[in-house]
């Protein structure tokens, strides 16, 4: 996966978040403050523009993710700005200046992003947050890497990871929120999908879509 792949990933995220903006806002209205879709749409649109207008353009996958993270921190606000922004920046830092990223390196970068989210948000798995989508996706990815096909195609592996994220997000429905704004509702947070977990699942779905599109070329 090269620099162009990661630019394509961010573009795909911007596309899918814009597409699902109202859905995310609806999830957030149920247990939060009805702005998650609008905020992420603003942030990832800005990230896509920042990547397109960067001079010089980002030279490595690490540059792409670091610039994305910085833009999210600068544009989004709320909790999702610092959380997603710091996660992307940490992923960028972890990838360093490698021109090509292996699935194993991507898994390590995602792991580092997750660690930052958990440190900033003090959230554990099961607290009904984005961690509930990201953690199982990384577990699936790491486990699948052990039996990656010999031809090195990573599409199916990322597809499994995206599926694990979506299942993780869905599994937040019966949970009691213990972090973030939904936690103010106490038991009334039960029965709703966490908007942060839902957006994380979309971001990982975009990764899988990008891999499939790249393989098709």
């Amino acid at each position: 996966m090269d620099t162009a792949f990661f630019v394509a990933w961010i573009e795909e995220i911007a596309h899918v978040i814009a597409d699902q903006r109202d859905h995310l806002t609806k999830l957030d209205a149920a247990i939060g403050d009805a702005d998650h879709g609008a905020n992420l749409d603003r942030g990832f649109s800005a990230a896509r523009e920042a990547l397109a207008s960067a001079d010089p353009p980002p030279a490595t996958p690490g540059d792409v993710l670091t610039l994305t993270g910085t833009t999210l921190i600068r544009k989004v606000g709320g909790a999702s700005g610092p959380l997603y922004g710091s996660a992307f920046r940490q992923m960028g830092k972890t990838l360093g200046d490698a021109p090509e990223v292996t699935p194993a390196a991507l898994a390590m970068a995602l792991e580092a992003g997750l660690a930052v989210v958990q440190r900033l948000g003090a959230a554990e798995e099961g607290d009904k947050t984005m961690v509930d989508a990201l953690a199982p996706a990384i577990r699936t990815l790491t486990a699948a890497l052990e039996d990656t096909p010999a031809d090195g195609s990573y599409g199916p592996v990322l597809e499994d990871a995206a599926r694990a994220a979506a299942e993780g997000a869905h599994a937040t429905i019966p949970l009691l929120a213990r972090k973030g704004r939904a936690s103010y509702l106490g038991p009334r947070s039960i029965g709703h999908e966490d908007p942060g977990a839902a957006s994380t699942a979309l971001i990982l779905a975009a990764l899988s879509t990008t891999a499939a599109a790249t393989a098709a070329k």
Binding site: T25, A29, A30, I31, G32, D33, A34, D35, A38, N39, R42, I73, R74, K75, V76, G77, G78, A79, S80, G81, P82, L83, L120, G121, R178, K179, G180, R181, S183, Y184, L185, G186, R188
Partner: protein, 330 residues
């Protein structure tokens, strides 16, 4: 949805343009979303910066001025400001004596202020933070995001602002802010949800005969739904929750705050019940405020905030203040 707006995306900027036109004593950077006093920082005075999502007007920009805040950073509606805004505001009001950040306890506000404070400290600006968490409707435990900051934010901004105006050092200004927060408790009730311009419809549905108890200030539902009842009974629920958490006695400062869509006459009905409740328990209302101060767009409802005063806090509350939304003694 019927709102006096030009478009959902321009509400915050358009309102700041209006604030600037109405209040030439403020410097309003509409593009960067930073409101400061027109006079700039005063040498040797601690600067006070607050900020948070828009939709709570007059909080915070309406409290910028003599005796209160030096700067306010409004975010998008119900979304905290970003670190860039907070850093720029902090630098703009730094008169060399350090800057106090007044932060309402919400995950987003805390994270963005923390990032800004870290970067300011790296640049050599001394920053202290007061975290406001006065809402008794939320359980404070390791397993939640902690209590929300609501009405007491105004008390902290006014009283810390008065002490800073008198030239006190940063540690004392922070300390009085923390003391006000520790002595204050709030509880909120909604008769209707609010409608954000982007969502276009109410954030939750309430039946004709229903109310929400224990609401925050972002249109999030409360902890329980209850049947509509006379003001006396609703106030009793709110005041019991406060009194159980912080027994009420002695001199108090009481804010009966409208959520944005509540007629003032109803707020006075509520105030009468609050006064009766406190009287039964031997507490005195020595200072009070009734009106829309910490709002939630067009929500119908109220919150009540009680602060147990000391002589020193009363003196600081009475000190002159001149801001768009709070002014006396000057």
């Amino acid at each position: 949805m019927k709102k006096l707006i030009n478009g959902a995306d321009s509400v915050v900027s358009d309102a700041l343009t209006g604030l600037a036109a109405a209040h030439p004593e403020l410097r309003v950077d509409v593009a960067k979303r930073i409101v400061t006093r027109a006079g700039g920082p005063r040498r040797g005075k601690v600067g006070l910066v607050s900020g948070g999502g828009s939709g709570h007007e007059p909080l915070h920009a309406g409290f910028v001025g003599h005796g209160m805040l030096d700067a306010a950073c409004p975010g998008e509606i119900f979304t905290s400001p970003v670190p860039d805004q907070l850093i720029e505001a902090t630098n703009a009001v730094n008169g060399g004596a350090g800057v106090l950040h007044i932060v309402k306890n919400y995950t987003g506000d805390v994270l963005n202020f923390e990032m800004a404070a870290e970067l300011c400290a790296e640049d050599g600006v001394e920053v202290a933070t007061v975290l406001v968490n006065d809402d008794v409707a939320v359980q404070d435990s390791l397993f939640t995001a902690g209590r929300r900051g609501t009405g007491a934010t105004l008390f902290v901004e006014k009283i810390a602002g008065a002490l800073a105006e008198g030239g006190a050092p940063l540690d004392e200004v922070a300390s009085v802010g923390n003391e006000v927060n520790a002595r204050s408790r709030s509880f909120g009730v909604a008769l209707s949800a609010c409608t954000t311009p982007t969502a276009g419809k109410p954030t939750f549905e309430l039946g004709e005969g229903e109310i929400e108890l224990g609401i925050g200030i972002h249109g999030e539902p409360g902890r329980v739904r209850a049947p509509m009842a006379p003001a006396r009974e609703i106030v009793r629920v709110a005041m019991d929750a406060i009194h159980e958490d912080l027994p009420l006695s002695g001199d108090t400062l009481v804010l009966v705050n409208g959520m944005g869509g509540t007629p003032l006459i109803e707020l006075y009905v509520v105030f009468a019940e609050v006064a009766a409740y406190l009287g039964e328990r031997g507490a005195r209302i020595s200072r009070s405020l009734v009106g829309d101060y910490v709002t939630s767009l067009d929500m119908q409802g109220f919150s009540v905030t009680v602060c147990r005063l000391s002589e020193e806090l009363t003196r600081l509350w009475d000190a002159p203040v001149q801001t768009p939304a709070l002014r006396w003694g000057r």
